[in-house]
Structures are given as C-alpha cells and as structure tokens.
Subunit: 492 residues, 2 copies
C-alpha cells in the first residue's frame, strides 16, 4: 500500500486550485482528499496497476461533471474517470506520478427512466449493472448484457469500454445496446445525444466515437439503453465434440434452426480436467472423455415459441445422428444448469491453480477461429518448449481467451518478468497475421498500450492520434490510457 | 446544360498536374476529361444541384485510389467521391466553381468474396446494390437493405451515407450491416478494417466514423457486409386504423408475437386518396374509408417457422376483435402484394402531381412519433395558412417523410423560392424540439448544411469540425458537403 500515501501535500498548486474550485462549486461531498478513503481506488481490482492522486472528485449531476471538467481545463489538471474500477487492463487506475485527479461517476447513479413499451431505459454513468438488471426485471424486461463483475461494474464504464460478456452472440456488445449517449466533452460542454433515434444521419457518429474510447475523449454521463422482454424459459446444454471446427458447425446448425441461442462457449478437454482437479464440487457433465466441449444456452421471452430445451434436444439429437456430436446432455434443473456454468466460470481459476500462465483476450473472424485455436496453440508450444497453450470461450463471437501456461517447475516471478512478455508478443503477432484484434473485449487501458502501438498500421494509429488531439487538445482525459499521445500531460 | 461546358481549359494548373499524374500512373482509362462524358455526372439525379469539374478520375483498385489521393494531396486538389450519383441531398455533385475533381468509384465493382456459411461478403465500393442482391441470391442468401435506387446506388455510397430503406425495422441501416471497412485516408494511406471481427476494442471505432461521413473524411473503397438466409415466405397486409398511436400499438403487438416483421409503413387516408386520383391502375386495398392505413410486410427464411401469412392473420384478427384495427386484408397473391407496395411507392409522385410541396426526411424517438405526426402537421398548417401537411413512411423506425403542400393556386416558382425555406425551418425547429434529427436517412450533403449548422448544439458542431480538421487538414475531401469547414478548399 506504499502508493496509497498520496495526499494533498505532494499535489501541485494547479491541482489544489482545481480541488478548491470543485469544493466551492459542488460542496464537500464532491471532494475526497483523505488518503484512507482514496486508497482503495488507486489499485485495479486484480492488483496489477498502482497509482496516486491528490483527490477523488465526485459530482452527482451532469452539470457537476461539466463544472469539474471546466475547472480541470482551466487549471490544466488531467482527470481519470472511474466507475466500478473493474477494468481488466488498468484503464481506471490513475498515473503513478500523481499528476491526475480521479473523477468518480459513482454518485451519478440514477435510473432516469424506464419505458418497457419502447424497450428503453435512460441510466446515469454510475448505475451498477446488477441494479439495472433488477430495475428492468421489475418491469418484466431485461438488459441482456451481463458479466462476472455485474455487482460493481457501472454503466458508464461498460459503455466507455464497449464491454462484452456472455450474451454477445445474440445481443451484441454494449455498442449494440446503447441507443443514445450524454457526455461532457473536454472543454466542459455537454453533448446531449440521449434521444433514441433509430435513424440519424447528421454527420459523424459521436455516440459510436465515445463508446469504447475508454474516457480519453470525454466523460459519458448517461446512456439510453435497449431493454428486451424478460426470459420466460431457458435451457443449458453440454456437448462433446472432436474439434473446434465441428463445434462451429454445430453452432451454425443451431443458428439456422432458431435465434434463441445466447451463449456458445468452447472448452478444451484438458481445461475441463483442470477444473475437475482444482475446483471443489465440480463434476464432468458427460460420462466419457471428449477432446472438446461446448456449453450452450438458449432462451426465449415468448411463452408461445418452441421451448429452448425442445430446440436443443432436436438439434443436438440430429447432430448426434449425423456424427457431429459424440454425446450431449441438457441440464435437467436450474441447479444443474448453474453447475454447467460454474465449470465455464472456473476455467481461469483452475488455470491459475495449476501454475503461472499468461492470458490473452483476442478475436479473429469467426470462421477462422477453429483453425486459429489449433494452429496458434501448436505454434506457441513449439516456440516456447514446455509451455502448454489452450484457448476457450466465446467461439460464436470469434473471441477466445488464449492462455499459455509456463513450463512445469519454473520460478513464477522470473517467468512472468522474463518470458511472459515474449509469449504475449508472439501470440499477438499470430493474431494480427490472422486479421484479428489483440483486444476483443477488455480494451487497451495501460496494459496493452505498447502492443497497440507496435501492432497498429500507421494509418490507423495516425487516425487515432489525430482524433485524440482534436477532441482533447490539452491531453487531460484519462492520461496514459489507450494512446501514447496522452502520456505526458501538459502542465499549465 | 450550361454547367456541363467545363473543360480542361478553365481548370487550374494544380488540377492539370494532378490529372497528368493520375493518367501517367493509372493509364488513360482512369481519366475522363471530355465534357460530353462528364456532363451526366455534374448534376444530381433530381436535377437540383449543378457543378463543374475538369475531370473524372476512375481508379479500379484500392492502390489506384491511394495514388489518386496522394496526387490530390500533393497538388492540393479537392476530390468529390461519386458512386451511383443517387444522393437526395446533393452529396455527390461537385462544387459549382469547378475547384474539385470527381473521384468515381464505379470501376471498383468487384465482389471480392461471398461466404454463405459465415454470412459475409466483401464488396468493392462501386458494386451496384442490385448486383449484390443477385449475387447473394445465387448462394441462397440475401443482403436485406433495399431502396428505390437499387439499380444504380453503389455499396460505397450506401455505406458513406449510412443508407436506410424499407427493411430497417428488422435489419437496421447500413451501419448495422457493415462488418468491416477498407478506406483510403486523405493522406493516401490505406486503412484496412475489412476483417469481420464481432468484438474489437482497439480504441476509437474508425469503421463507424467513416460510415455516414459522406466521403468527407476519406474514401470507402470496400466493405464487408452481412448476408442473411434468403426469404422463403413473405406476406403483405394492409390495415385501416383510426390514428398513428393505434398503428404503433399494432406494431408493438406484432413485435411481441414474432421478429419477422420487416416493414411497417403508415399512410394517411388523404395521401391514399391522392394516389388513387393521380396514379393510374391503383385501387384501394380496403372497402371503406379509414383515417390512416398501414402496410405490413413479414418474411421468414425458415420453412419450418410459422408462415408470415398465418402470423399476420392471427395478430390482425385479434386486433380487429379488440377494436384496435377497423379492417385489414392480406394480399392473396404476389401481384396483390406488389399492388399494395405500389401505392406506398407512389406517395411522393402523387403528392407532386397535386401541386408544389416541400419534403422533409426526419426522425424522432419511435414512441413520440404518433403525437409528433399529428401535432406538427397541425402546427405547420396553422402557421402557414392554406398549406396541407402530411407525414407518412417508416413509423417503426421513427422516421417519416413530412410533406407540406403549398396553398391551392400559388405560383410554384414563387412559393419554392420565397415560402418553402421558411416552412422547412419551421418543421426542422419542431423536430429539434422533439429531440429528433433533421436527416433521418438522406444525410446532409449540400442541401441541409446550413440547417445542420443552424440547429446543432455548439458542442456537437465543434466536435464535428474538430474531427474533420484532424483527419482532413487540407480540406480536400468532398468540399462543401456536410460541414462548412470544407467550404473553401485551400489552394496549394
């Protein structure tokens, strides 16, 4: 906790002026300078990135955010926007040199409206995902995006990082669920794009520019999101298949038969074995061994439609008859369905329990993913003898988590420090050669910035930098994240 | 055709140098300087905008486009990108002062690949929409976006203007159908974003920035588009309803019952009367008079699913029982279905036949559209005595074509010149007050530029200008379109 000792003592005069201006304008509740209170927000939740700051500024309205932005611009003080602090890439952790203040959106936590008939809700940036789930459910509706951090991740952060999760196959990422954006731009002007217009051709799409910008172009203060009718039936199945290519063929069959498939997760046989070995209370869903497994979830919001369990039985039955699937089972109860999902959700923990490993959140075009999974794993193992490479996850999204485990018996600290970065560069090179993305759903943040710069085409990188410089000429928005341009904030 | 007399005689030295460089690099087929050959491309298809140019440059590859762009940048010559020249807002017509050259994408007309299993095609900018429809059909697939100009509109233009059409309700606009973009940026660098990644969080979304940018930030040279399984059954219905609010309730019922509704078009009773009066061979689908009508199309690609006709019968029958719908009929044949659509497609022609009128392509949030249609029409008629205002079109998209007909007996030329601009400003003010868009699907081009600047918030306008200046600092991309910034191209 050495980094938590930041206080107003080692802040700059400019920061002091900005903090005093915010306190005078918004009151003492909007300013936190106590080192103890600040400490939890200086480290990302996985404990990989550490920063310092003199204050957390917490306005509770869009006008308050605009005032904070104007004071920051006036005094040349960079701001790090923060929601639930659940970034996987250090995207919400302030710089280590204490040069920035944290702008917390957590007090902006109102659900401004829910309109079940229109299928829309307007939520402020600080609304926690699980709270929106509950509010939608109370209206017989559903906000379909969900992920492990739903109890702390905020809607503003989810939009700013274009979050994914387990339901992307059917509903898309946040980009597909956001129907409007309200944001405060770096100069302190409010951009009001909340109106949910299905068609709007008034020039460059600023909503899409702000979604996924990781707070480097402005602060999303509220969003209009799409709601869907609540699920009335779901079914979860587990199937054994010989290889990822066959798994993809099975997915295509399911998609042709229905649009009710929400999740299609692929799991290698040896990853399942690690779960069974390390995670207490887990058991194999199928009797025999299989090289690969898939976890399938189908749902419907329409009581009159074909039941998801009937659909899965029908398609999986035909696939077994046709020799595509070796064996399959449909969860007979909610408890069994949860047990299947627990295996999927325990894959990373089981990997960690079995030794050092580096993880990569990558995507390639869906059709090429089966071959990529096999060939990239073989290439990584050949290049780094003794390692074991596996890929699992959202096959239907063309997004897998590609893990490379260290050779048995290595010193973890030495391997992470000396070998792991080279492994990551090797894997990323394979991804780029396959036309893919080195960040499928986690964003760039601090963690992948150097790799983004190393692997982006000059045209792409120059465009990103030009946009950043155009919209945030003072370099005050989330410095050190996404792009190198903002690395050195300009002092006033 | 006075404006068609442009020739190399009155072009600038810089233009001559650029033209010669393109000819030397790409050969004579890539350069058209003959005034007769150029003439058809100097006027928009509706004959409202007229321009001049010294040459049409027609590269047939992305490398050729990049070379043209580099020569243009070197010599400081602005370029007007052009596809099928079907813009509704003068977006592809060169400036009247002859300061720009036309960059035609029509020779880039290859379908690079079609992958039915993945549901993807890669098409060059100059591919005509109808040609993609045919190519997809040959693979049992379908590219769902369609519109009246499908025989000449090109895929690059459709993407650059984020085109809509009649199938948006189910499939979205071009923005929702484009899975990847290849573009040449103003400096001549190629941006290759064609890979269809369902998840990609590597910073600002350049694809979405280029879609709908009307060629003012770069030239889209190819796109990856989504294909869907071909339709196996369709049904078209016509229903009479008391008001737009009831029409929207009917749409909500249909959406709850099925996701197979593709079109839901609303038509006022008096507009139908105009069609029956002015368009030969049309007849009313229903026996009695109704204040409002809706045209509904439902389709399915799944032979095992509920037949669209059965769905429409079921939902419309219940709506009649519940007093929501006064009367309804389902087309008994393809010929009758086409006859229903012909009425819808003849609305503008019938309006024109009945006298001068100004048309507005506008959107507001779907839920507020029914009230807007009634109240805005009443307000316009009260403000401009003797006029008649009607709105019809894509109710389910929150997008209608709002027409105001001139008072009977006015002089058309005088009315268009003196009164119509005030009517348009009045209607646009109402749209903005309702949180809507003054351009739902046609874009800004030349026609709506002044209104965009008058009605955009300072924050929005400043952001658009900053992006334009950042990515096209020389102001060479489609000058005079979308934003004032590019109005005066900088001479070298």
């Amino acid at each position: 906790m050495m980094h938590a000792r930041s206080s107003t003592d080692n802040s700059t005069l400019a920061q002091q002026q900005a903090i005093r201006a915010v306190e005078a304008a918004l009151g003492p509740k909007a300013v936190t300078t106590d080192a103890q209170d600040i400490a939890p927000w200086l480290t990302d939740w996985r404990g990989r990135f550490h920063g310092r700051t003199a204050a957390i500024l917490s306005p509770d309205s869009v006008e308050g955010v605009a005032q904070v932005m104007r004071f920051a611009a006036e005094h040349g003080v960079p701001l790090v926007p923060q929601g639930g602090n659940t970034s996987m890439v250090g995207g919400a952790t302030p710089p280590a040199d204490g040069s920035a203040l944290i702008l917390s959106l957590r007090r902006m936590n109102r659900i401004r409206s829910i309109d079940p008939a229109a299928g829309l809700a307007v939520v402020e940036a600080g609304v926690i995902l699980a709270d929106l789930h509950a509010a939608a459910a109370a209206h017989g509706m559903r906000f379909p995006l969900t992920l492990g951090a739903r109890g702390s991740a905020t809607m503003g952060g989810l939009a700013s990082t274009n979050a994914g999760g387990t339901q992307v196959l059917r509903f898309g990422t946040m980009r597909g669920l956001v129907a409007g954006v309200e944001a405060v731009l770096p100069g302190g002007e409010v951009f009001d794009g909340l109106a949910a217009l299905k068609k709007d051709n008034r020039g460059y799409d600023l909503d899409h520019l702000l979604i996924g910008a990781e707070g480097t172009l402005g602060i999303i203060t509220a969003i209009t999101v799409c709601l869907y009718p609540a699920v009335v039936q779901r079914a979860v199945a587990w199937a054994g298949v010989p290889d990822p290519e066959t798994a993809l063929s099975l997915l295509r069959r399911l998609e042709r038969a229905s649009d009710s498939v929400e999740s299609f997760e692929i799991i290698p046989g040896d990853s399942l074995a690690l779960v069974l070995q390390h995670i207490p209370g887990t058991r194999a869903p199928l009797a025999g061994p299989h090289a690969w497994h898939v976890l399938i979830e189908a749902t419907t919001a329409n009581a009159a439609a074909e039941a998801p369990a009937v659909l899965l039985e029908r398609v999986l039955g035909a696939a077994i008859t046709d020799g595509l699937v070796a064996d399959a089972t449909i969860a007979a109860s909610e408890a069994q369905a949860e047990a299947f999902w627990r295996i999927r959700d325990s894959l990373s923990a089981a990997e960690r329990a079995s030794g050092p490993a580096v993880q990569h959140d990558i995507s390639v075009p869906v059709a090429t993913m089966p071959r990529f999974m096999i060939e990239a794993a073989a290439a990584a193992e050949a290049r780094f003898p003794g390692t074991h490479a596996t890929a699992f996850g959202h096959l239907g999204d063309g997004n897998v988590h590609f893990h490379v485990r260290a050779p048995a018996g290595v010193d973890a600290t030495r391997w992470y420090g000396e070998d792991a970065p080279g492994v990551t560069r090797f894997v990323h090179d394979l991804v780029v050669a396959a036309g893919g993305s080195i960040s499928a759903e986690h964003g760039i943040g601090q963690m992948k910035r150097a790799e983004l710069e190393r692997l982006s085409s000059p045209a792409r990188l120059a465009s990103l930098r030009a946009i950043k410089a155009a919209l945030d000429p003072q370099g005050l928005m989330n410095p050190g994240k996404l792009l190198g341009l903002a690395e050195t904030p300009r002092a006033p």
